[in-house]
């Protein structure tokens, strides 16, 4: 489903040196597979996510999603790709402030269907995520965990090929983190979505099908102690 071949992205640093944010990363994630990606700050995790989401173009290498090479997409094609093929869950919930949980979850569908239809489509998903009695609540009326679940619903609402989750449990306590990870795993398996979970949370490895470690732009097998440093 998701395939990265020798992907590289380098940036010039203010001191004139070259920062190898992503340096020859190759990776494959199958449908329904959840991969946890560890790495310290500045290891290139966010850059890698941006490349997979077609937000950044790599200097070299190929990124193939559902059989389609995405590194050559134009800006418009890249937007279209993200809207229909990618689901994003971020650390800080980026919900639309004045809109209800239902509207926020349906947000990603508005490019393809009417608001009414979009709401109808996401309502069961929100109910499944335990927000059946919070459908009309606005973000400020929801807890952090509830907001994160609204974002998961949004990310999965368009039945994406790839789910990218950037520290989805970063702001949650242990119990709520487990709930969120549990849900992510369950939904990815059920909806056959290839999921990449960027995290510092050591519990996440237990929920992932695989765990990897990104250091200095390169992927390594995950070693729990190393990830803790």
């Amino acid at each position: 489903m998701l395939e990265l071949n020798d992907v590289r992205k380098h940036f010039p640093s203010p001191g004139g040196e070259v920062v190898r944010a992503v340096d020859g990363v190759s990776l494959e994630i199958a449908r329904g597979e959840l991969v946890a990606l560890y790495g310290p700050s500045g290891s290139g995790k966010s850059t890698l996510l941006a490349i997979i989401a077609a937000l950044l173009r790599p200097d070299a290498g190929r990124v193939i999603v559902d059989g389609r090479e995405i590194t050559t997409l134009s800006k418009g094609e890249a937007s279209d790709f993200r809207l229909r093929q990618i689901g994003f869950v971020r650390q800080t919930p980026s919900l639309v402030p004045g809109a209800s949980a239902l509207d926020n979850a349906a947000f990603k569908l508005l490019g393809d269907m009417t608001r009414r239809a979009a709401r109808r489509q996401v309502e069961p998903l929100l109910t499944r995520l335990g927000l059946g009695d919070r459908l009309k609540h606005r973000p400020e009326q929801l807890s952090g965990g509830e907001q994160q679940r609204v974002l998961i619903a949004r990310a999965l609402s368009n039945a994406p090929a790839v789910l990218l989750a950037d520290e989805p449990t970063g702001n949650l306590d242990t119990r709520r983190s487990r709930d969120v990870l549990d849900l992510l795993r369950e939904l990815c398996h059920e909806q056959q979505v290839a999921a990449l979970l960027v995290t510092h949370d050591t519990q996440a490895a237990a929920y992932a099908d695989r765990a990897l470690d990104l250091r200095d732009g390169q992927l390594h097998a995950y070693v729990a102690d190393a990830a803790m440093t």
């Binding site: 809207l83 990618i86 639309v96 809109a99 508005l110 490019g111 009417t114 608001r115």
Partner: protein
């Protein structure tokens, strides 16, 4: 915290919000500039005339003025001078005319003065070389006038005085040091004897100024009244300034009213901009509280913010306002020149500076301290916030209820209340308040309607456009933007509507007057537009396409504190009255009675002041006091102090003079106006100084003149609108710019730059459109109120017509202009890199 530390903290924080602070700075500066410009314009209008009057009369206590622009003899001057309580006396002889030089011609007041005028201590003839000019038999002109005519010293200039052309040499160019504030006044000064020769009025004067010995004022006044008899009136020496203030009142009041609208727009602009910095200030308050600072210190920090902004912006506003006053409001409205020698000195009173500066600083304090008051006072605890949220519905209902009540009050004033200045102002204030209270409800309805209408649209655009308008945390900012448009369009539509009604009324009045003759012969000059300059009517006979020639008489008459315009139409032609002019009485009966003689039509304002009504008798203070009955009450016929119409024969008796002010030719059937004009000019001969004009040409000239007279109102309306466009566009741009992080996060989801841009435009269109539409609707109510006030309070002739098209066009133009500017900012904001949305 010491003041130095407060200032240091201010500077550090300023770097982080310089953009928003500059917007607020611009808003307050715009508001202050409009307010200051209008204040200076008003001060200059009345102030320059007062100074000019003071320059002529010096320390004189009384004037003895010939009645109805007639004359009195120099013998009376000698008698006045000989009175025991009089220390000095001087006479002047005045006549309106036209002066012609090689390059230009101009309306001018020819003024003959006696050497005694300098002894009164006024600045006017301080450096006037009376002896020299008397010796060479020459006139003096202010340097600017002489330069515009392109006439050099010792060269001849031609004066048209009545129907006569006379020539005199230019003996002196007067400087500011010679005549002070009258330097910009169109005046030609000559020694009295020479002026009498030029005007063919030997031994005559029009006014005598008297300086009394200390403690002798009352006795001198009584003696002067005895000397005056029925030929002259005794007034305080600066009576002309009183008459001028009365005549200029509508101009001053309307300018002041619209400057208030301008200031409101500017201050709303500032308020919108300051709202952008509220979250930052709230964080600062929270930080200071956490660090243990007391509310008093926090208040000091915020007050410093407000004062720094207010003082800086007010200073710029005053500088800008000075430029606006110089470039746009310079010079007096031309209609005042018909009765007063008006200059255009610019006078800045300390009071004007103080009002404008205090206005700007208060606005700044309200904008800074208002939205954060609850935080400073510690009322914004989480409990309080929750309670406030819970009470939200009740609060919205309260606003709705208040809006409905105030709106009902405003409409009641518009529909039922008797017209008065106080009720007019109360009505406008009520309409403005109601409009602002109704705005949140209307915006809510529109958002709901847009959501309903777009619920089947497959696009993210309407969703993004409406969510921010619903968001409680940004609602105040959104409402401030819409309120700016509402206030500006309200003021502008009300003004433009009333302005158009007044224009129609004046045009109709002009048409009624001009319809008295097909071709007119009258003394030339812009100042004679009301046809008030007398001349000895030449004996000419009809023929060559002219069926009849009649004499029209007109002039000014001082009644009470008003310089009233007097119309004396010939009985043989149509009376210049239409039903739109008559406020009390029957128009046909009034016409018949005027023709019959012994009756007059009087402006309601003059009649009210004199305590008379239809059918009553009133003795006019004319050169030959004459008692006439009132046939009907009318509007002021377009002359602010009011008007009187009596037939030309009654006029002749009352003024004791057969002089005409115009000859009116009625053309034979089949004669074209151009042929009639040529025939009348030929009959008058080449030596006549009279100008001959067709009725059509006069109509065009007068309509042009009234448009110029009302120019200032149109200019202020345009300035208010331009300010509003800039204010709304800036506030929206600031709002949009702050949302780039959100836009980036939406783009991460896969929505395009184009979607974001369209959504921003849609949102701006809703917000600005709703504000402007509401302003336009309320503006139509305001128009009705203003038009009624113009007729009933100021007495202007008004033909009311709902300014729906004006309202629609204003609304569309302002919305389009503001949204177009927003489009540019929106494009930049929407182009934000989506990857920046991954941060955080």
């Amino acid at each position: 915290m010491s003041l130095r530390n407060v200032a240091g903290l201010y500077l550090v924080r300023l770097r982080g919000r310089i953009g928003q602070e500059l917007l607020a700075f611009a808003g307050i500066a715009v508001g202050v500039s409009l307010l200051f410009a209008a204040l200076v314009a008003n001060s200059s209008l009345t102030g320059s005339f007062e100074r000019q009057t003071e320059g002529i009369v010096g320390s004189a206590s009384y004037e003895l003025a010939a009645r109805g622009a007639g004359t009195i003899t120099e013998g009376l001057l000698a008698q006045a001078e000989a009175l025991p309580g009089v220390s000095n006396a001087a006479g002047i002889l005045e006549a309106h005319g036209e002066v012609r030089g090689p390059a230009e011609r101009a309306s001018v007041l020819v003024l003959g003065v006696t050497p005694g005028l300098g002894d009164l201590g006024g600045s006017f003839t301080k450096g006037f070389s009376y002896g020299f000019l008397a010796g060479v038999r020459a006139v003096a002109l202010p340097t600017p006038l002489a330069e515009s005519l392109d006439v050099a010293l010792a060269e001849p200039v031609t004066f048209i005085l009545g129907d006569r052309k006379v020539t005199a040499r230019l003996g002196a160019k007067l400087q500011f040091s010679d005549i002070g504030d009258s330097i910009h006044t169109p005046v030609a000064v000559a020694p009295l004897r020479f002026a009498q020769e030029l005007m063919e009025k030997p031994g005559q004067v029009t006014r005598i100024f008297v300086q009394t010995r200390p403690g002798q004022e009352a006795a001198v006044a009584a003696e002067l009244r005895q000397l005056a008899g029925d030929h002259a009136d005794v007034h305080p020496a600066d009576f002309d300034a009183t008459l001028f203030r009365q005549a200029a009142l509508p101009t001053s009041e309307s300018t002041a009213m619209f400057s208030v609208f301008g200031a409101m727009v500017g201050f709303l602009f500032a308020f919108s901009a300051m709202l952008l910095t509220v979250p930052q200030r709230r964080r600062l308050i929270a930080d200071l509280e956490t660090e243990g600072y007391r509310p008093r210190t926090i208040f000091k920090v915020l007050l410093f913010d407000a004062l720094a902004l207010g003082v800086a912006a007010s200073t710029l506003g005053i500088v800008l306002g000075d430029q606006v006053a110089r470039r746009l409001f310079d010079g007096a409205p031309s209609f005042l020149e018909y009765a007063f020698p008006v200059g255009n000195s610019r006078i800045v009173e300390p009071r004007d500076v103080l009002i404008a500066a205090v206005g700007g600083i208060v606005a700044s304090c309200v904008a800074v301290l208002g939205p954060t008051a609850t935080n400073v006072l510690g009322w914004s605890t989480s409990d309080g916030s929750r309670r406030a949220r819970a009470d939200g519905v009740a609060r919205i209902d309260w606003v709705r209820l208040a809006g409905i009540v105030v709106l009902a009050g405003g409409v009641a004033i518009v529909v039922f209340a008797p017209a008065s200045a106080a009720l007019g102002i109360a009505g406008l204030a009520a309409l403005t308040a109601a409009m602002l209270l109704v705005l949140p409800t209307l915006l809510g309805f529109v958002i709901a309607a847009v959501e309903a209408l777009t619920s089947r649209v497959v696009s993210v655009v309407p969703f993004i456009a409406t969510f921010d308008l619903r968001d409680g945390t940004t609602r105040a900012r959104s409402l401030a933007v819409a309120a700016t448009g509402a206030v500006a369009v309200f003021g502008s539509v009300a003004l433009q509507g009333a302005h158009a009604d007044l224009q129609r009324g004046l045009d109709r009045t002009t048409a009624d007057v001009i319809a008295m003759g097909d071709v007119w012969a009258l003394p030339p000059g812009k100042a004679n537009l009301l046809v008030t300059t007398p001349f000895a009517a030449p004996r000419i006979r009809a023929g060559d396409g002219i069926a009849r020639i009649a004499v029209y008489r007109g002039g000014f008459l001082d009644i009470g504190s008003r310089r009233v315009s007097v119309f004396g139409p010939p009985t043989s032609g149509p009376m210049p009255i239409s039903s739109t002019q008559v406020l009390d009485g029957d128009v046909d009966v009034a016409r018949a009675r005027l023709r019959e003689g012994g009756w007059m039509l009087m402006s309601e304002g003059v009649a009210r002041e004199q305590g008379v009504g239809v059918g009553d008798r009133l003795t006019l203070p004319t050169p030959v006091p004459t008692t006439l009955r009132i046939a009907a009450l009318s509007t002021n016929m377009g002359w602010p102090p009011g008007a009187i119409i009596l037939n030309a024969d009654d006029y002749e008796r009352a003024w004791g003079s057969a002089d005409a002010s115009a000859l009116l030719a009625t053309l034979s059937p089949g004669t074209t106006p151009a042929a009639g004009r040529r025939a009348l000019a030929a009959a008058l001969g080449n030596d006549s100084g009279l100008t001959v004009e067709t009725a059509q040409a006069r109509q065009r000239q007068q309509e042009r003149s009234t448009r110029v007279a009302l120019r200032r109102l149109a200019e202020i309306a345009a300035l208010v609108l331009i300010s509003a466009v800039i204010a709304m566009a800036s506030a929206m741009a600031g709002l949009i710019w702050q949302r780039r992080a959100f836009l980036a996060s939406v783009k991460v989801e896969g929505y395009s730059t184009s979607d974001m841009w369209k959504a921003l435009l849609f949102e701006a269109g809703i917000l600005i459109g709703v504000g402007c539409a509401l302003g336009a609707a309320f503006g139509l109510l305001g128009q009705s109120l203003l038009s009624r006030a113009l007729t009933s309070v100021t007495g202007f002739p008004v033909v009311y017509s709902l300014a729906a098209v004006t309202a629609l066009l204003t609304c569309l133009a302002v919305t389009f202009a503001a949204v177009s500017i927003v489009a540019l900012f929106g494009q930049r904001a929407a182009s934000v890199a989506p990857e920046s949305g991954l941060v955080g």
